[in-house]
């Protein structure tokens, strides 16, 4: 037996990369769930997907990208590419959010977003997270993991179904609010622990 055996919590806290990679898996699982359900079940799964995406991407933007940007040669460029992908996905998500999940255009839009989000996640794992593990010291990775966990704790576990509204409204609606709330929590955690 090696000395690396850990409880899941300890493993997550010790390694922000492992934590984010598992969230990538959870995001894909939720995409599956939205695709495979209908009606209220789909609405509920989609709310959870929106929530997780908001929390995950905000935590990356507040915690991981700024750190990675100055961590390695070319970090600026890598992070700029990831931010552009995140911005693009955010817009696509806002559009989906304004749609009725049972309307005919919803699933094609969802599949499209799914592909974009997956490509984005793989790019993070390969070009950004690999550098984190390579260059950041363990305490730093633990502190980052803690901040990401704080972000996770902000969003309600079971949000209300979205109120339907005009697309323009929705773009700045629940998704944006969720991101703001997450941002605040992360900043607080970073101020305390970072």
């Amino acid at each position: 037996m090696t000395s690396t055996a850990q409880t899941p919590d300890a493993a997550d806290q010790d390694d922000v990369v492992a934590l984010l990679m598992r969230q990538h898996g959870d995001i894909r699982n939720l995409f599956d769930e939205v695709e495979r359900t209908t009606g209220d079940d789909r609405r509920d799964a989609f709310r959870r997907l929106v929530r997780l995406l908001a929390v995950h991407e905000t935590a990356e933007q507040e915690v991981v990208h700024p750190f990675a940007r100055q961590l390695f040669d070319g970090g600026q460029g890598v992070v700029a590419d990831r931010l552009a992908e995140e911005k693009h996905a955010k817009q696509a998500l806002a559009q989906l959010d304004a749609m009725d999940p049972d309307s005919p255009g919803f699933l094609p839009g969802l599949r499209h977003l799914r592909t974009d989000v997956m490509e984005h996640a793989r790019a993070e794992e390969r070009y950004e997270f690999a550098q984190l593990r390579r260059r950041a010291d363990p305490e730093r990775l633990a502190a980052l993991a803690k901040a990401v966990k704080a972000a996770e704790a902000t969003a309600p576990t079971h949000p209300h179904p979205a109120v339907q509204g005009a697309a323009a409204n929705m773009a700045a609606g629940p998704f944006a609010a969720l991101m703001d709330r997450t941002k605040d929590a992360v900043r607080k955690a970073m101020g305390k622990d970072g």
Binding site: M1, T2, T4, A5, Q6, T7, P8, A11, V17, A18, M21, R22, Q23, H24, G25, D26, R28, N29, D32, R111, R114, T115, M118, E119, R122, E125, A130, R133
Partner: protein, 400 residues
Amino acid sequence: MTFNPLEQRGIPLDRQLRNWRELAVEPVDPDRSDPYTRCRIITMNGIEVEAILFSHQFARHCQDPEVKRKLAEVRYIEAQQQKAVNWLLPGVSSVLETTISYEQVAVDLTAWVARAEPDPYLKQAYQFGVLEDFDHLYRYANLYEMIEHRKAEEIVDQLTEVMPGRPTPLHHRHPVDNVREPYDRRQTDPLSKLHALTVMSAEQQTMNFYMNVGPTYMEPIARKLYQEIGLIEEEHVTHYESLVDPGETWWEQLVHHEYNECYLYHSFMEQESDRRVKAIWELHLNMELEHLHTACDLMRRHDGRDPAEVVAPQLPNVLTFEPNKQYLRELIADQLDLTTLGTGYVREAHERFERMQQQLNGDGPAPSDEVMQRHQEMFGRDYRVQTEGEHPAFATGHWN
């Protein structure tokens, strides 16, 4: 429908070259494509890699510059075919996802071959081997859930069950016990030659894949698991390659390779669900017919023999990717505790096996068991896909 590839002509060799635009194939969808389409892609990649490596070995043993040039010409086309086939795999898949598909290939390809194999000794070799790759699938699936929080059923899609086979730590046998007896090239059914070549090529590709991608993982447990299973794939290549009669001449072997490529592209063309991929199988079949024709010419000229003496007069039944769940469950119930001794099989752990086991597993658990321990710690259970009920054997408490 009878199809004698010896009598068909395909695309002339000098018209087989593809430009960059033609080689830039669109990959299949990582999540929504037929799992067996991915299995056919992985199989044909292994077949093309073997075509290339065999041709290189042949060239290195060949004195005749004209033959060397002919081999180089055909081999370049094989190399383009390998690119067109393997580049159908999507870039967003993780290495572990591709690995799980590789083990699904090993399970459902080998099980199908075991069912179709007419020779009892050869059949036993496939039955023995398939229970090991079956367990590899289980171990990698558990690693996958740990690292990526995803379930392997999203990859294998209920077509293949994921549960314990012969426990992976017990696959480490003394190397001399991995060498089997070859078939007799003069008496064996031509189908048996195709089976041996197919499974050997698939295992060889798996071995090459694991030995190259294993160190790209950052997680220590993943790095270790690829080392362990990579070494078992080495055993599998030894096991399957030793089934082939080494008395076959180079010319004869070349004919078998090209004939087998015709057989497999034809088989996969018949069953392919993805229209775009099917068109590639069809195109490649038409290329292989001409490779076969070229190989037959070489054999007639340099071996002084008629290729029709060594291959089947028509293509055998199509080799098919399909679920083999009940067959595998029967094998698990009957053959889980087998190991090898010399060229045969025994149920008791003999001295040479025990010594090898002690040397590898004696100082702490094998990585394949460590994966299960860690998974248990994280999730409080192991990961399985059992669509057909309870596990058929109670030998599943190996790592407890």
